[in-house]
Each structure stands twice: as C-alpha cells, then as structure tokens.
C-alpha cells in the first residue's frame, strides 16, 4: 500500500518536473525565435507561403465556425432573454461575447487544430528523416529557417482571421435573431452599436494575437522535439494540438483579467 502511494507521488512528481522542464524549453524557444527575428533577414518567400497556408487556406473552416457560433449563441441568448422581455439586448450580448471571448477563442482553437498540427507534423517529420540535420549541415539554423516564418505568419494572420470571425459571427447572430426569431431590427442594431465599444474589438484582436504566439511556439517546440518514428510523429502532432488548445483556454482566463483592466479599467 505504502509503495503504491509512493508510486503515485513519484508519478505526479515526474509529471510536474517534466511539465516545468517543457515550459522552460518552450520559453527559451520563444526567446530564440524573437532573437532570430532581429538577427537574421526575414525569408519573405517562406513567410508568404506560410501566410497563404495559415491566412488564406484557414478562412473557410474558421469562418464557418464563427458563423455557426454566432448563430447558435444568438438563438440561445434569445431563448433565455425572451423570458424577461429582453430580446432587444440579444444583439449587444452576441456582439460583446463574440468580440471579447467567443471569436478569438474559437478561431484560435480551430487554428491550433489545423495549423498547429501541420506545423508539428511537418517539422517532426523533417527531424525524423534527417532533413533538419541536412539544414544544419548546410549551415542553416533551423529555428531561423523553420520557426521564424511560421511564427511571423501566425502573428500577422491570426488577428485578421479573428477580426473576420467577429464580423461573420455578429452578422449570423443578426440573421438568426431578426429574420428567424423576430427580434426588432432597429432595437437589435441600436443596442449592438450602443454597447459594443472599440475596446471590446481590441480585446478580441489582442487575444487572437497572443494565442497565435502560443500556437506557433508550442507547435514548433513539439516539432523540433518529436518522438521517434511514424507513430511518434502522430503522437507529437496530437500533443501539439492538445497542449496548444489547453494553453489557449487556460491563458484566456488570465488574459481576460489583464486585458479588461488594460482596455476597460477592470469593467
């Protein structure tokens, strides 16, 4: 019995130490990417390739998600608010929720699944097939060649995608609330505009920007430190998506308080 308890504590200890070690390594990779961005010229061709993959090719999946999140949220809010005769507040609620929370979080969870997985899989496959060693052998620093273009492209693309998700989500919320559920259009827009501040939009875009760093750095880290073999690439990819998604959801809690005090004085 005592041995079993010891084993449990040992396992928890190993898990904690591993977690702290990984967090340290991810932080060092983040700082290394920032250093490389300053030290080396930007590889525009690779950056644009990544921009196309992240920014253009992700639009359909991200916008579809944004549209249905906005639509479903509007319907649910309407079903509750109608009990109190507050249907006219649906627009404002959908708008603020999309801007501050639903837009950036759903957008970045989708990006973690689509883009983060691709980054981790590609880099880890390169590592497993000695392509990263080949880069090093040709005098190319892998973090600069592979990490920086992906990181930069995420940083630029994600706030733009988040902005599009906000627009589509709010528009689809309107389409559900007004034509389908019969909320008065004038009240809907009036309250939406009245209660949605520029700072709400800025909070959403800033969250998108911060989450993009999390996705890029975690996915690159997992790619550069993969498990061996074909099955290892699969596990590495899965871990990149799971850890990125958890990091987004956990950090969102802290970002919410920080950004609220920054943009809204804690309101």
């Amino acid at each position: 019995m005592t041995e079993a308890v010891e084993n449990v504590f040992a396992a928890i200890g190993r898990w904690l130490i591993g977690g702290i070690r990984s967090a340290g390594a991810i932080t060092l990779l983040f700082l290394n990417i920032l250093r490389c961005m300053v030290k080396y010229p930007i590889r525009w061709r690779l950056f644009l390739q990544q921009m196309y993959f992240i920014g253009v090719k992700s639009q359909v999946v991200v916008l579809t998600t944004g549209a249905f999140v906005g639509a479903v949220f509007a319907a649910q809010i309407h079903f509750q608010f109608i009990k109190f005769g507050m249907q006219s507040a649906v627009g404002a609620t959908v708008s603020v929720a999309m801007c501050r929370e639903l837009g950036p979080v759903f957008c970045c969870l989708l990006l973690a699944g689509r883009v983060g997985a691709a980054m981790a899989a590609e880099i880890s496959s390169m590592k497993n097939t000695e392509q990263i060693d080949a880069l090093r052998a040709m005098g190319v620093y892998p973090v600069e060649y592979l990490g920086v273009p992906r990181f930069l492209a995420m940083l630029v693309s994600t706030p733009v995608l988040t902005g599009l998700v906000l627009i589509v989500g709010i528009a689809c919320g309107y389409l559900v609330a007004v034509p389908i559920l019969g909320v008065d259009s004038a009240y809907y827009w009036d309250n939406t505009i009245k209660y949605t501040a520029v700072s709400d939009v800025l909070i959403g875009l800033t969250k998108g920007f911060l989450f993009s760093m999390i996705i890029a750095v975690i996915s690159c880290y997992k790619g550069f430190n993969p498990e061996l073999g074909t099955a290892g690439v699969g596990r590495t990819t899965t871990e990149a998506v799971v850890i990125s998604s958890l990091a987004i959801l956990i950090s969102d809690f802290f970002f919410t308080f920080i950004l609220n005090s920054l943009f809204l004085g804690g309101a």
């Binding site: 080949a134 052998a137 040709m138 005098g139």
Partner: protein
C-alpha cells in the same frame, strides 16, 4: 600532405552508454578514408561529430585548424559550409523539387546569380548521371536516384571535405557499385577529401586509400586496403571476412 582534419581523443556517451572512447584520427587533403565497423558501433556518431551535428563529451575535432567542438551551433555554420555530407537516406527536402534541393546550398551561401545557379544545378545532375531530372519531386525518385541527387546537393558548393554515411546501404549491388565509382570520380574531379562510413567491404576496398576500423569506441586498426586484407589480427579478420560467432548476434 597536410591534414585537413584531426580528431583528438574524442569521447561520447549516449544514454550513459559509451559510444566513442578516445578516437584519434586524421585525414590529409585529397585522401579517401573509409571507416569500417559493426552496426551500432559509433561510425555515424563519429561522422556527426565531424560535421558538428553532435558535441563530444570530451576531445576535439579540428577542421582546417579550427576546433569545431568549441563552437556553438550558429558559429559552426560558416565552417559547415566547407564540408558536405551525404546522409544515410539522402535527407532531401521533400517539399522542394530536385532543382530547388540542389540550388538550396548555393542560395544559402549567397553570391550566385540565378543563371549561375541553374548552370551549376545542370552540371551537378550531369555529374551524377541524372540529367533532365530538375523538375521531379524527391517522392518520384528511386532509392538510388535519391542518393545521387543528395550527393549532387552535397557537392554542388564544392566542399573541401565530403562525409558519406553508409552511401550504399539499401541499394542493389549494381547501383551500389555506381555510387562507389561516383564517390571516387567526384573526389578526383573536385579535389575533395572523402570520409566514407560503411560496413560494406566491397565499397571500402573500391573507395579507400586508407581504411580505419572502429572497434569498441576506438580506432582499432588503420591501413591500406591491401594491408587490412593481409592483417591476421582476429578482430580485423572477423570483420573483413564477415565471420560471426554465437555471442556476436546479440549487439
């Protein structure tokens, strides 16, 4: 002849297993050195130390008078560009075409116009007997063709020292022989020193000016192909003639 490379008392352990236990070796300019030894004996690890892809626990790798072991990853880069390496599976960039793979080291080095790069790519493919394959992707190539393209990429920037990691592994004897001939031809044509790691004795005899046997983490024997064949030491003979004993199966 002056030494282009010197390895001094190199030690390396992996997962607490000693792999290299005091390797001393030198290579002179224009020499073809073949390192033989059993699978898992540390030959590839030694090669990766020469390229600076691994750092030793102790000891030095001196390339053209510079201690590569004392340099960090980014400081190594300019010196690595003077060394070419053929990886065991080619390590071609699978997202780039043959042409882009070959042009890669030239573009990274800088100072070449697009016309010059294109000419050098064409020339390199001619040398490895693969003219007209510029637009193919690595996935469309056979094993032997991949090795040839990887070889062309490794030598395109005219390195002074070429490292070959098991260049004939996984190839049929005819393709393997053509790769052996190519290694010798390239060395002569481009005036390179070659270090070839292999356990294929046919390749070793074909390529080598000198053969070094790595055994239990050290250079056990060095000599010309003729000398190594005539040597009566049981460890050398066992490897050269491919004789196994019951305990050898478990490595």
């Amino acid at each position: 002849m002056s030494n282009i490379l010197e390895i001094r008392n190199l030690h390396k352990s992996l997962n607490d297993n000693p792999v290299l236990q005091g390797v001393n070796l030198s290579v002179s300019a224009g020499e073809n050195l073949v390192i033989i030894g059993r699978s898992g004996g540390g030959k590839s690890v030694l090669l990766r130390h020469i390229m600076g892809l691994m750092q030793p626990d102790s000891g030095e790798v001196i390339f053209k008078g510079i201690n590569m072991s004392a340099l960090d990853e980014e400081a190594l880069n300019p010196h690595r560009r003077e060394i070419g390496m053929l990886f065991q599976n080619g390590a071609l960039f699978d997202s780039l075409s043959v042409e882009e793979n070959l042009a890669f080291p030239l573009r990274e080095r800088g100072g070449f116009g697009e016309k010059e790069i294109s000419d050098r790519v064409d020339e390199a493919l001619e040398i490895v007997d693969l003219p007209g394959q510029q637009k193919k992707m690595p996935a469309e190539l056979s094993g032997g063709m991949k090795k040839r393209v990887a070889l062309a990429r490794a030598v395109i920037s005219r390195p002074e020292l070429m490292l070959y990691d098991e260049p004939t592994t996984g190839l049929d004897p005819i393709v393997a022989d053509s790769i052996n001939k190519l290694i010798v031809r390239l060395g002569d044509r481009l005036n390179m020193s070659n270090i070839v790691v292999t356990h294929d004795m046919v390749s070793a005899y074909h390529i080598a000016d000198r053969i070094a046997q790595l055994h239990e983490g050290k250079i056990y024997y060095e000599g010309s192909p003729g000398e190594i064949q005539a040597n009566q030491d049981p460890v050398v003979q066992k490897f050269v003639k491919g004789i196994s004993e019951p305990q050898d199966a478990i490595v």
